[in-house]
Symmetry: C2
Subunit: 289 residues, 2 copies
């Protein structure tokens, strides 16, 4: 691919959508992996959360989110929301003219790369866990792996409330993770199967290790999704972030790409968004879907 083609393709943004602002953890990883790319982010904050709803509703809302991104001529769609990925990926791919990357496949791949015991735990929303999507993705890659899954409905509102490093967070984490480790004490890898959970990673990791009595790796989909996006676009890794064993060339795209954020409701965005993005935000544009 010549430089001119690259420039033209780079003018098209990458589209990312999520049920809310948690998906900004994926944008954060994308901006590290592909610093020159423009990104359009849509948070469906008016209809958040998706995690407690039925597959039918999740699919319907996800299709309207993807339509919004496609109308902005994105060259790639990332479904940051695990619930949408687990319940709507086939429907989204069926109608998209550009590649669609979900959260489940990259998360499953990260978990398989991390586990030594072959015993993996996954936590997520009710709709993600009920879909069985992680079990299917892991079984398809390694049928010998044992997966245990637990739905944790209270973790998203807990993260939104900002109670992420205190005694209530620890008690809630203990109640959910006990259900996991009571079923399989040999779990050595915990998948955070929801874009909200990375802000709770510390307490979840601490409690998991305490319950397991051994080290537990905590993995999420964000970095793996960014890596999948880089591969889909045929880009080389930016300076200082080359994958093991690959030669790193000079990074031609040092200019930071644009980040345009849209949301269907603006309540609490100023408070919540920077927590997940990890950098200041210029603001969200309100849209009706």
């Amino acid at each position: 691919m010549g430089n001119n083609d690259t420039t033209m393709i780079m003018r098209h943004p990458i589209g990312v959508f999520d049920s809310g602002v948690g998906g900004l953890t994926v944008v954060r990883a994308l901006r590290r992996a592909l610093p020159g790319e423009d990104i359009v982010y849509l948070g469906d904050t008016a209809r958040v959360p998706y995690g407690s709803k039925s597959p039918r509703t999740v699919e319907k809302y996800s299709l309207t989110c993807q339509r919004f991104l496609l109308d902005r001529a994105v060259k790639l769609v990332l479904i940051a929301c695990n619930t949408a990925s687990a319940n709507a990926l086939p429907a989204l791919r069926a109608v998209s003219p550009v590649p669609v990357i979900g959260a489940v496949e990259p998360g499953a791949a990260s978990a398989l790369a991390a586990t030594k015991s072959g015993h993996i735990g996954v936590i997520g929303t009710l709709a993600t866990i009920r879909s069985g999507a992680y079990a299917q993705a892991i079984a398809a890659r390694d049928a010998g792996t044992r997966l245990t899954a637990v739905a944790c409905p209270l973790l998203v509102p807990l993260a939104d409330e900002g109670w992420t490093h205190d005694d209530i967070a620890a008690m809630v984490a203990r109640r959910y993770l006990s259900q996991l480790f009571d079923q399989d004490r040999a779990i050595d890898t915990l998948v955070l199967g929801c874009t909200h959970y990375p802000v709770l990673a510390e307490v979840l990791g601490t409690v998991a290790r305490e319950l397991a009595g051994h080290d537990v790796a905590v993995v999420d989909s964000a970095s793996a999704m960014a890596e999948a996006a880089r591969e889909a676009l045929g880009s080389s890794p930016p300076v200082g972030q080359s994958p093991p064993g690959s030669a790193s060339g000079p990074n031609k795209r040092t200019t930071a790409g644009r980040l345009d954020c849209f949301a269907t409701d603006t309540s609490r965005l100023d408070e919540l968004a920077p927590r997940f993005l990890g950098e200041p935000l210029t603001g969200f544009e309100l849209v009706d879907l």
Copy 2:
């Protein structure tokens, strides 16, 4: 009003809507106060919760809910959702040909009837507390009353998770109610300003009394809304439920009215709905709004 007129008016149902299933606590009170009336209930479970969203979104969704009820020829609309009542009542009344009863006015009246100290606390969703609706309703009735309000975003998901009588519920209640009683130790009446909270009434009352060091009355809008509905319809109270000082006539409507329930998403309804209604449910019909 003659018997024939009464029969005709009674053929029209009372409409009740809520962002979810919490509003069934109002239906429960209605069925006690007006046992012969038919009721149409709509839970906007696909877009729940309203409490964390902006007034604009709450108003928009509330209008579609009311439209659904009016299309079913209801003779009265009850907004079971405090968030919708606090943010959308004027907009709903402006377009409704039938009376519209919100949750805030009856809740405020109940609180004023219960308080002896004139110090009232109210808890609710972010959108309810931010609206200032309870402060306005109480000031309009008794300017000498002191109202302290605290938003409790985690109580709705806690109630939905069913963690209503345990150590986590007590810790969460203590964290929120401390914010209330730290501001005003003389509070003797706590308004549950959200239809979800009655299932947490026990733990909230216990913690409130512990923090206050004296008795605290816990009031909610459900019974007061049912009473307001009865007044709006000009009905006499059913046998055994006459208000103090009134003569109770024989109850002509011993037949239980119909209850037709609609929801915009069916996930978790079988699990959650009976908890709030307090009786078995024949089921919800799924509707798109």
